[in-house]
């Protein structure tokens, strides 16, 4: 918590922290056949996290999660960057809004 507060102060003093420059930890996620792989990501709680979502399907997908407060369209055959956090420890579900029956996943912050 103190580390986060310090990071916050540093970012504020650096002025509007362009691009979340404080080296957010990176994770990768792939959409294949309207499913997320892996369907479960473990991320550190209390930190900014970058998730690179690679959509290998030909169709677009929308990475959506009310819990993570994210709505991001990822066109077919392309990559999208989803920035989340800092998160309190817990489970945060997300879906692929355009194929919500199969595209499901969860972020676990710990």
């Amino acid at each position: 918590m103190r580390g986060f507060a310090l990071a916050l102060v540093l970012m504020l003093s650096a002025g509007a922290s362009v691009g979340g420059a404080a080296a957010a930890q990176e994770f990768n996620l792939t959409i294949r056949n309207h499913k997320f792989e892996p369907a479960e990501i473990r991320v550190p709680a209390g930190k900014r996290v970058s998730i690179y979502v690679s959509n290998e399907d030909a169709t677009p997908e929308e990475f959506e999660s009310a819990a993570l407060k994210v709505e991001k369209v990822i066109p077919g055959k392309s990559k999208g960057l989803v920035r989340i956090g800092p998160l309190a420890p817990g489970r945060y579900e997300f879906i692929g809004d355009f194929h919500s029956d199969t595209a499901k996943g969860v972020v676990i912050a710990e």
Binding site: L8, A66, K72, F98, D101
Partner: protein, 273 residues
């Protein structure tokens, strides 16, 4: 087919709520149909263009292009809604008196219909680009595209019907109250948009402060339920808001109230609404 129907319907309803409110707010104004149609047409065109360049937009600004675009669109809509409400405060009273007196025939003068037409355009642009992208994906896969397109068309029709429902529902409000009602609706709409905009800026990595979650009412009224979604569009309901979102929400309401108060013509003591 059902999937397509649901997705298209959802996006159309969100834009439709805004169009319905705008139509009610401009009740009795000549040529408003032209303005609103222009807004919808421009928004639809823009949605197509955004969908076409979706990949380039997503990759712009270190992967934050989409978020920054959304934040800008919402920000612009908030400003337009503020302008509209300020104008209404200045001129709404004569219009109300006139409307009550002569029914529908109002010579409204220079209403800033451009402001509301822009708001309609931006709403259609935002929700529409998702619909276009989704339908494009449907066409791209080829398989059973016909039934999905039928679903999409039905979704569009149902969404349009919902817009009509919103409009006629608001028409039931007596003429002498309609401006006050739409002014309040527009203020809440704008506040909700502002709260969404700051969240997009946060997701873009542009701002990184006051990101702490204030409460979690998702077990009571989940934001992705039907009612949750409607309230999200209408008054900016968020089941897990951050501190910054609440501040943006309240600040927008405060600014709109202040603008309305300043713009209201001097004569006598009148309440700010």
């Amino acid at each position: 087919m059902l999937g397509a129907l649901v997705i298209v319907l959802r996006e159309v309803i969100e834009a439709g709520l805004i169009v319905g409110i705008v139509l009610a707010a401009t009740r009795g104004v000549p040529e408003r149909g032209t303005w609103v149609s222009l807004g919808i047409a421009a928004g639809a065109l823009g949605a197509g263009i955004i969908a076409l360049f979706a990949e380039a937009i997503a990759n712009a600004f270190e992967g934050a292009g989409q978020e920054l675009l959304n934040a800008s669109v919402l920000g612009a809509a908030v400003v337009m809604l503020m302008w509209h409400n300020a104008w209404m405060a200045k001129h709404g009273r004569e219009m109300t008196i006139e409307m009550a007196a002569v029914g529908k025939a109002v010579t409204a003068g220079q209403r800033p219909l451009t402001a509301l037409a822009v708001v309609v355009g931006l709403a259609v642009l935002r929700e529409g680009s998702e619909v276009v992208l989704f339908l494009y994906g449907v066409v791209a896969t080829g398989t059973s595209a016909a039934s999905l397109l039928v679903g999409g068309a039905l979704g569009l029709a149902a969404g349009a019907a919902f817009t009509a429902l919103t409009y006629y529902g608001l028409l039931a409000v007596p003429a002498r109250h309609i401006f006050m009602v739409t002014t309040i609706l527009i203020a809440l709409l704008a506040a909700g948009m502002a709260a969404q905009a700051v969240q997009y800026l946060d997701a873009a990595g542009t701002i990184d402060l006051l990101g702490r979650q204030l409460w979690d009412s998702s077990s009571w009224l989940p934001q992705d339920s039907i009612i949750g979604r409607l309230l999200h569009t209408l008054i900016g309901y968020t089941d897990r808001p951050t501190e910054l979102q609440l501040i943006a929400y309240l600040a927008t309401l405060a600014v709109m109230t202040a603008l309305t108060w300043i713009a209201t013509p001097a004569p006598a003591a009148r309440s700010t609404a």
